[in-house]
Amino acid sequence: MRSTLASTLPTSLRSQAWLVQSGKAHYVVSGEVDIEEEASIGPGVLLRANPGCRIHIGRGVCIGAGSILHACGGSLVVEAGATLGRGVLVIGQGTISENACIGSEATLLNCSILRQAVIPPGSLLGDPTWRSEQETTGVTQTEPEETERVQELPAAPVQGVSEAPPPSSEAEVTPQEQAEPTQEKRGVGKLNGIPGRAELERLLGKIYPHRQVLSSRDGRF
């Protein structure tokens, strides 16, 4: 595997690639994450797909160190050739299309990026009032947390995602909790799992577009 990566990289990069490999960089994968060959993933990257969601990293994708990709409410696809800078935060579903360039420290909330698009560093895209599906339906309260595993990075970051993650008692890793956009914004947490609640919230959001902004902390008028 080492040789394949090394052979595909230009000579100037080969030394760096080896550097990553010798430095034993780590990144965390949780859930259904699918990484194609020749994708480069920096150290300290968190790739987390909630139950029922998936992350797909295409060929030749470059993800900077310390980035967080958290798929919830659908698939998060990073298409071939896209480049994500250092410390990029991507939450929700969406597609980062081919050859897009996301500047460092940018935050993408549940939005898609067109191909060849360039996002300036430190920008915030998507609706800040968006709440993840996990929060509205309370999936985390009912389903057992998926265990995570820390993967060592060989020369080419190829993941065998199909094998089941080994069960471990320490399920939750704190950085991923911090990646949650808004955890339990509403005071009435018991209502989150009620069937039809999410649909009602969507309906109310359509009828009253500014309701989220206007409503007080406990979610009532």
Binding site: T137, V188, I194, P195, G196, R197, L200, L203, I207, R220
Partner: protein, 238 residues
């Protein structure tokens, strides 16, 4: 008449109404009704061509999954035998239509359903909903397992706000089980929903045209005799 049969079962009345709404809108099926056996199990029955029934049932299962229903059971029978139709309540609604249950005064309005476990929570929620928005309490429905559903009608904005308020009240009093809002129900869904008798307007029967003896036209011949005498004086008289 060999139409296919589709059944789908969930454990909540609002959810099954929402599922039935999605099914009737997804394909050309006829909603026969809801079969409520006790224990909270509700079944929606649809009939139609096999392709329509298959589409509708798939759509219904998808909607039921969105509503976090774990126990969904469904069935498609392409050609049920006549004996089955005679015994089980799965045949078409011709008999119901023949009864002509009257016309609901709450038709063409959005439907809101709120289900609680326990009666006080339902009554409290219904009271709050009526006081919150301009909605009418149409009926309530019990399906066993302590689950009872209140059905409100009104414009969609009123219904949505009322359900939102009722949800918190129900949770405060007791246990909330499910909510659903249907902005524009089809006619056959409305027919299947229960409506309290006070809202059912019985069709007014028009009075039968009784042949009445027409009065004869009065002859105005009396005045004909009263003639004003006219005297013509001969010319030349002083």
């Amino acid at each position: 008449m060999s139409t296919s049969l589709g059944l789908i079962q969930t454990r909540s009345f609002p959810v099954i109404v929402r599922v039935a709404d999605a099914m009737t809108k997804s394909a050309g099926v006829t909603l026969i009704g809801f079969e409520k056996i006790s224990g909270g199990y509700c079944t929606a029955i649809v009939r139609g061509n096999i392709a329509d029934v298959r589409i509708a049932i798939e759509e219904g299962i998808e909607v039921a999954r969105q509503f976090n229903q774990e126990e969904i059971s469904s069935l498609v029978i392409p050609r049920p035998l006549p004996n089955l139709e005679v015994v089980l309540p799965i045949s078409s609604k011709l008999s119901q239509l023949a009864q002509s249950r009257g016309y609901s005064r709450l038709s063409n309005l959005a439907v809101g359903l709120l289900e609680t476990r326990g009666f006080p929570a339902m009554v409290g929620a219904a009271d709050t909903m009526l006081k919150t928005a301009d909605v009418q309490l149409a009926a309530y429905e019990t399906i066993g397992d302590g689950l009872c559903t209140v059905i409100i009608r009104g414009t969609v904005s009123n219904v949505a706000i009322a359900i939102d308020a009722g949800m918190y009240e129900a949770e405060r009093i007791g246990e909330l089980n499910a909510v659903a809002v249907i902005p524009r129900p089809l006619d056959e869904l409305e027919q299947a929903l229960p409506v309290a008798s006070c809202f059912v307007a019985q069709p007014v029967t028009l009075p039968v045209a009784i042949p009445q003896a027409q009065k004869e036209e009065v002859q105005r011949s009396e005045r004909a005799g009263e003639r004003i005498p006219v005297y013509l004086e001969p010319p030349g008289t002083p």
